[in-house]
Symmetry: C2
Subunit: 484 residues, 2 copies
């Protein structure tokens, strides 16, 4: 059934003759039937790529970044698993869950794969500490890894298949995100949820071995379920978004696998996804150099559990602390040259609660010097009320300085003995220019999983993530990550 | 946590320092923090209305229209239940369904309430034969009735509670739809799915007895899950949309009932639903005269299983046929004065399949004269190949005539004996001006359920719908409507 036919069907079906004037009705129908020629075959070409792309096609650096994406995601999913938000989701959805097909990371309960993917997706985003595709601010792993880790417990998936699906899912959502960013994000959409559902559908569709036609429909059903608005930021609803993108993506792929049909051109058609949801559409971002250029290779990971605006200062503080074996009692003053955003967003001088600490450059620098870290533990109620940290934060003096970019900081620690320690940060750790090392990712993982998963098991899970390509079954990772 | 705080949290969390230039980053953050004052308390005021509105507040005409909405919906849900689309949904979702909490209308399977609501919502929209709120082209019952009929099988719901929830759900989605129509629909959204999820969340939230705060969050979680694009029209994806609106609305309400939080102002905030999803926002449509003006009283029902553009001609043909006991062999010619849309949308002269018949004014008029009806059976493969109908359709002569409005038709049937039978239709049956009678709704119901539900049971279901207010348990309707 081609487009003209469908257009006509619909115009005939919906026209509200008796409620609106004739001229209005005619204008609407005319608009409907005189649609401009749409961009061609975007959805189908993407679908064709997805069904044909194999693990063997993946360059080594992309495979490597895939394992880092996986390891980082598992860490944050375990780390968030005891949060009240997850408790609520588990409690609310238990009465409706299907068979206990899949694990919850860091917990004992099991759910059907759609509900498990939702809850794990929520868990992985609670601390805002997950991965980031910086060009779009998409957090790619949430929708995709949540979906395919759950799926892999229901149906056998080899490690190679898994990694390929993970990369393809991330690739799909980031490319679709690129096509509509920044307009789409600026207007109010939480792009992780709106683009993420495509990523989840593509990845699960790959594991379901969909045909090109079925994959086209899966992308269409995904397009029908965008998730998330920026207005929800600051509430549990923010974490809801990657979770729901994961479960709705599975929903799309599963229906398509039984030939539940959709449009052939849902992404690019005149009244399809990109035109409806954004004022910018750059389809070359979706189709250009497929299989050659990999957005999935551009993923980044947060070293610190707070907004990126404070990362340069925390990075500088930790470097100077470690290099000089600094203790708080040595410090007279910390001078910071910063971009205006730092004070605008994180100018809170005397935070009383852990969450408030995430909006205090004074606390962040002080705790980094005292504890040599900026993880979730450094933004706890304990940390912001620690007397040593409280005392030191009053000595932090940020000054807005022309010429300092947001990604930069210039720090001088003045010691009581008169020495001055200086560090200029051009790009903080965790950026594309200075990526976190594998070792740093492991430390982050261990800190997050500490107290939830036994240390010996933490080691095993990390090894399984690094070696995912050689696993006979990717389900091992999910099973090990459930709380014993 | 008030808005400024949330805005700051997010700006800090997402700023991609290393990937975008400093000036871009700053401009984005500045935009984020200098949001214009939004419309005030729309979501919360609506939530307050929903949690306080009681059955006793409903005017008699609204209660009556609610029962008609219910009866019509049950008929179309049963009627669509054997369609391939439903078979596929059942097959695809069976492996993931939770406890067998709720019935499928017209079928034997049982699913958890979210999946049951999805499948019943799909079933009710397959023939495009469900109810229509003509101001917005929303099909109101699909998302709402699907959700609360399933819910009523899980938890006791009296008939009065049920009818109140149905009306409030319809009211919510139609008011929210009014606020953004037509821009929202014009740009490409399938408004039944985007507004419908609010209706389902509100109605289920009412049955869950949510607090005002919880209802505010339920509406926020609903806002995070708009469903459906017009590009999908003509595929199974169109029916997907009311179904998914129903299940996602339940999902929102169930999470909110356990205090899963959202924004306080998800509908009206600067980066909330209405601003993100439409260029028009008229909040008075949502809040004006709540509890006095009822959109739910303006619901309409299709008498004929095809696009509204052909309804005036079918109406005229049936009237003249019945009044004159007309048979096909008496007819020399049928002259029709029509609006241009009729030929533009339904100009197919020789349909070969039932579906094509829906786009043939020639077939529609012929079969109406031969069979005195325009139901799903009159648009079957059987009907379009019936020799008597095929012969008669060649005698139908539609002429585009200036001055004829889309809701009008002027028909003259010239008989072989020289007589001329004339009928001018100002508003077709099924419009707001000439609503279907209860008796006509029953005939439509019976035709749809024939062959699926035994006749004696059809009578009982219709009686239960008419008398829903006196039912101790609304679940009776769903239980009776499952196939034995």
């Amino acid at each position: 059934m081609h487009t003209d036919r469908r257009t006509i069907i619909q115009a005939a079906a919906v026209l509200p003759l008796s409620a609106i004037g004739a001229s209005t009705a005619f204008a609407q129908a005319s608009t409907t039937t005189s649609a401009a020629a749409p961009a061609k075959d975007v959805t189908r070409t993407l679908a064709r790529y997805l069904v044909t792309a194999s693990y063997d096609d993946l360059p080594a650096n992309v495979r490597k970044e895939g394992t880092r994406t996986l390891l980082n995601w598992v860490g944050v999913a375990i780390g968030g698993s005891r949060h009240e938000t997850v408790d609520i989701a588990v409690s609310a959805l238990s009465p409706f869950s299907g068979p206990q097909q899949a694990s919850l990371f860091g917990r004992r309960e099991r759910f059907d794969i759609m509900n498990a993917a939702f809850i794990n997706g929520v868990s992985s985003h609670i601390f805002d500490y997950d991965d980031t595709h910086l060009k779009t601010i998409i957090h790619p792993a949430g929708p995709v890894a949540s979906a395919i880790l759950a799926f892999s417990e229901m149906q056998p998936v080899s490690g190679k298949e898994f990694l390929n699906a993970l990369v393809l899912g991330v690739e799909t959502e980031c490319r679709i995100g690129n096509a509509v960013y920044p307009n789409h994000y600026d207007v109010g959409w939480h792009i992780t949820g709106t683009a993420g559902v495509f990523g989840a559908a593509a990845a699960v569709g790959k594991l379901l071995k969909l045909s090109e036609q079925q994959m086209t429909w899966a992308l269409g059903l995904a397009a029908s379920q965008p998730v998330g608005l920026r207005e929800s930021f600051g509430s549990m609803n923010k974490s809801f978004n990657p979770g729901r993108a994961a479960s709705s993506g599975i929903f799309a792929a599963v229906l398509a696998s039984k030939n539940f049909t959709s449009s052939e051109a849902m992404i690019e058609a005149k009244r399809g996804w990109a035109n409806t949801i954004s004022t910018k559409q750059d389809y070359n971002e979706i189709l250009g150099d497929l299989g050659k250029r990999y957005e999935a290779a551009l993923n980044t990971y947060k070293p610190f559990a707070c907004g990126i605006v404070m990362h340069p200062a925390i990075d500088a503080a930790i470097q100077l602390r470690n290099e000089n074996k600094l203790t708080a009692d040595q410090v007279e003053r910390v001078d910071l040259k910063v971009h205006p955003l730092v004070l605008e967003l994180t100018g809170k001088k005397t935070p009383q609660q852990g969450l408030e600490g995430k909006f205090s450059i004074y606390h962040a620098v002080a705790v980094a010097i005292v504890e040599g870290a900026g993880g979730e533990k450094q933004f706890s109620d304990r940390a912001v009320t620690d007397p040593t940290v409280v005392s030191l934060r009053s000595k932090v003096v940020p000054v807005v300085t022309p010429g300092i970019k947001p990604e930069q900081v210039d720090m001088t620690i003045v010691l009581k003995d008169g020495r001055q320690l200086h560090r200029h940060i051009e790009h903080a750790i965790g950026s594309l220019e200075v990526p976190m090392t594998d070792k740093q990712l492991e430390t982050k993982f261990s800190d997050l999983a500490d107290g939830i998963i036994p240390a010996v098991m933490i080691r095993r899970i990390m090894d399984a993530c690094w070696n995912v390509e050689s696993l006979p079954s990717a389900a091992e990772i999910a099973k090990m990550s459930a709380s014993a």
